[in-house]
């Protein structure tokens, strides 16, 4: 099944929606506005009737794999079950209908929810305050780095470097660069953890912060985290926690206790707000007391049960987005936290770790497992053992798609060749993990016996492997002015 573009189905004169009339005596726009301000040619949006619009999007939806129907073991992304109760909560008119500039008296429930969510997140990660403003993880990283920058500057300390491990997610160096820092990479040690020696070598009074995720992107807990924190703090730098992997140890330990000064959380990972095919998420940032003065404005403050937005924060880095964050996602995350409670969140992390270790055990022998010892909530395997058959991580991924599983993250982290990064999460049953392991086994067998066949999978999806290289090439031709086909958008033929 495939589906034409809405633009390709458009027909002049198709029944558009009925809409209310103005019913007031007033001139038309083109009677009042200067001609130069008016649009001459209407935008060529598709023209379709409602039944066609709904059919179109319903069919598009059915072309997707999603957590709702498939195991989605995308490493680093914590694709856990998105509770339907969250959706019911977030669509309550008492939330969706609020204008951001209503008087605070009229939004006490919303502010109370934000305040309680902040308290809960403080408890989970062990920090003093949390800003709910950032819209996603990367946004949170940048917000945190801006606070760290402001902290150093407030002391007249113009530090220019940020340290980032070579196994870090791409957003870390990008966020550092966006904050105006120079990025210095720290190597991984052979055991997959950060190299202390290299860290020591790179640390200096120029360094504003070390960005770290823990467990790291290999799914390994940074055992020496307390030493690392001491080293970093000794040079006056701050320690930043990329919370993408927080699902590993809620209720077990806390980044704040490990020495992290600033922490972002991905509510769309750990706290079950849906990922939406690429957002919206939410990336709150928690900080220790020293960084609190630099939090974005406004903060939510509670005095004698009354809530207000506090804009009077002279050292604040300012706003990082409009209004107060992705409020709808905050409602979902808070609903989840209330339903799970401290006991539930703790067990969730335990089960996440258990599932990852179990699944890693189950695929042992089929794929390479480059790192010894237990993993945390995810693990990185490698398809390099299939290299002799000409099979790559990509082929394994496509084979999984063919077998009704979404594929793990591949080719990340960069430090593992042919990486296959698997994060099962706590909301997948043992039966599903077993079925996945069976599929891997079958694929590995096929890799050995019929590698050519595997290289042509998937067959039963709406499309076969798409030629991304050709697309990139065509885009380039277009951007160079050689071709008229924009590739990045539809144009009527001819």
């Amino acid at each position: 099944m495939t589906e034409l573009l809405s633009f390709e189905k458009s027909r002049p004169g198709a029944h558009g929606p009925r809409l209310p009339d103005a019913d007031v005596a007033a001139p038309e726009p083109d009677e009042l506005l200067p001609r130069a301000q008016l649009r001459k040619v209407p935008p060529a949006l598709p023209r379709l009737s409602e039944p066609e619009v709904m059919r179109h999007y319903s069919r598009l939806a059915s072309l997707n794999y999603s957590i709702s129907e498939q195991f989605y073991p995308l490493g680093s992304c914590t694709m856990k079950y998105n509770p339907v109760a969250n959706e019911a909560a977030a669509t309550l008119p008492g939330f969706t209908g609020l204008h951001p500039y209503q008087d605070e008296d009229t939004v006490q429930g919303a502010l109370e929810l934000m305040w309680r969510l902040e308290q809960a997140l403080c408890a989970v990660v062990g920090v003093d305050r949390v800003t709910l403003q950032p819209a996603a993880g990367a946004h949170g990283e940048w917000t945190a780095l801006r606070m760290i920058q402001a902290f150093h500057r407030s002391r007249g300390d113009m530090r220019t470097e940020v340290l980032v491990p070579d196994s870090a997610h791409g957003t870390n160096p990008a966020s550092a660069a966006l904050s105006g820092f120079q990025v210095v990479e720290v190597a991984s040690a052979p055991d997959g953890r950060i190299s202390i020696a290299d860290l020591e070598a790179k640390l200096s009074s120029r360094v504003a912060a070390l960005m770290l995720t823990n467990p790291n992107t290999l799914g390994l807990f940074e055992r020496d985290i307390l030493d690392i924190a001491e080293l970093v703090h000794n040079t006056g730098a701050k320690l930043y926690y990329d919370g993408a992997n927080l699902n590993a140890f809620m209720g077990v330990c806390r980044p704040g206790d490990m020495g992290f000064d600033a922490v972002h959380m991905n509510l769309h990972k750990t706290f079950t707000t849906p990922h939406g095919g690429g957002g919206p998420g939410a990336g709150p940032v928690g900080v220790k007391a020293e960084l609190v003065p630099f939090l974005p404005t406004p903060t939510v403050e509670r005095t004698n049960g009354h809530l207000e937005l506090d804009y009077k924060r002279p050292q604040s880095i300012g706003r990082v987005r409009s209004f107060y964050g992705n409020f709808g996602m905050l409602v979902r995350a808070y609903t989840y936290i209330v339903a799970m409670g401290g006991d539930g969140l703790t067990q969730a992390s335990m089960d996440a770790v258990l599932s990852a270790n179990y699944l890693s055990k189950r695929i042992e022998g089929f794929l390479d497992l480059p790192h010894d010892g237990p993993c945390m909530h995810e693990f990185v395997a490698s398809a390099r053992n299939l290299g002799t058959y000409g099979i790559k991580a990509l082929d394994v991924a496509k084979g999984l798609l063919e077998r009704d599983f979404y594929a793990p993250t591949i080719y990340f982290p960069l430090v593992v060749p042919e990486a296959i990064m698997v994060e099962p999460t706590e909301t997948e049953s043992k039966a599903t993990l077993d079925a996945f392991a069976e599929a891997v086994k079958e694929i590995v067998q096929q890799a050995k016996e019929e590698p050519e066949k595997l290289r042509h999978e998937p067959h039963s999806l709406p499309v076969g492997r798409l030629d991304e290289v050709a697309t990139a090439r065509q885009v380039n031709t277009y951007l160079q002015g050689v071709s008229q086909d924009p590739v990045l958008r539809w144009k009527p033929p001819g």
Partner: protein, 430 residues
Amino acid sequence: MAYLVHSPEERAEMLGAIGVQSMDDLLVDIPRSLRIPRLELPNGLSEFETMAQIGALAARNRVFPDRLTFQGGGVYRRFIPAAVAAVTSKPEFYTAYTPYQPEASQGTLQAIYEFQTLIAELTALDVANASLYDGATAVAEAAMMAHVHTGRREVLVAGYVHPEYVEVLRAFGDGRGIKVRKGSEPTSKTAAVIFQQPDFLGLLVDAQELASRAHESGALAIACVDPISLALLAPPGEYGADIAVGEGQQLGLHPNYGGPHVGYIACRKELVRRLPGRLVGSAHDADGRRGFVLTLTAREQHIRREKATSNICTNHSLCALAASVYMTYMGAEGMRHVASVSFKRAHSLADRLAALPGWELAFPERQFLNEFPIRVPKAAVVRRRLARKGILGGLDVHRWFRELRGVLTFTCTEVNDPRAIDELVEALAA
């Protein structure tokens, strides 16, 4: 424990299969001293109790009805077709990740491709991306593009651009050492002139003139544009804007106390390589079937890391989907219709308010679409009086602009029926 799956027996079985005794054996890498006795949160609740608690919080908010909401300032009440929620509530869309595996993500990819086309059409620019977080960060990202493109370190904010967007722009600029200046006279140091159309007060600016001035100094012109207005107004691509950005909340998204909404960004071909965020392009499989893929990823953080055009990863895909459904449902004609209904009602309201004793339009010489600033005798009294009648409206813009003491903005859209307008006027006349 609501959303957990494993039974105690299965846990034991799994531990056994791994070959360990207990969970502690799996957590050995965590220093003992770091282990906490328990997570200091109340125990979990049943769904029933959870929803009662959340429902009680929702009930502690006051929701002004659509038709009696005359407040804008960047977030507007508009008719949202039921089609929007019917699409965005499909789990196949909302529980998928960023479409890394194209064969299993054609729904999301095609929807983004259509969104890119819709925005490109609306703005009359060459290429649009998959979405940004909101209007504010879109302005900031555009400014960063201009900075990199021109190598210059100053951006100019011309006229009444949304004050929160400017604050965000400053926060972005601060980190990178880019100065944000108010004014409309670019110099050879200016990377971009940024303006909003209609501006924060609802007034039309001379976009053509601002764009020309920018270009004369070698700066880029960045237009921050209300997408609905583009059904009526000349598009950025026509008056020479190099980058168009904006907030898409009006395209089918609820106010939601400010978010999630969606930012859009579109630009001329020459700037495409500097675009932040995801881009989807069309592709083909070995059998010649058309499909869609993420492309030009070499701009992005996961490939380019610190040299990426932006750090954005998760964007606002589902909100962009809502906007696509809205635009596809309404069509150009539908959008034009609601834009002109809004225009007419706002003008009727403006006339009636300006006739109240002591009230006068703040900028009588300037044109507006469906939001306008008006000077009133006692701003706080007006808001309170309206609130008492269940009406939300009159945004006090003095809060952001010193020179606008006593100025409120009012907004009308197709949701404010004529009777609602009467109610507003009556409440003030009384």
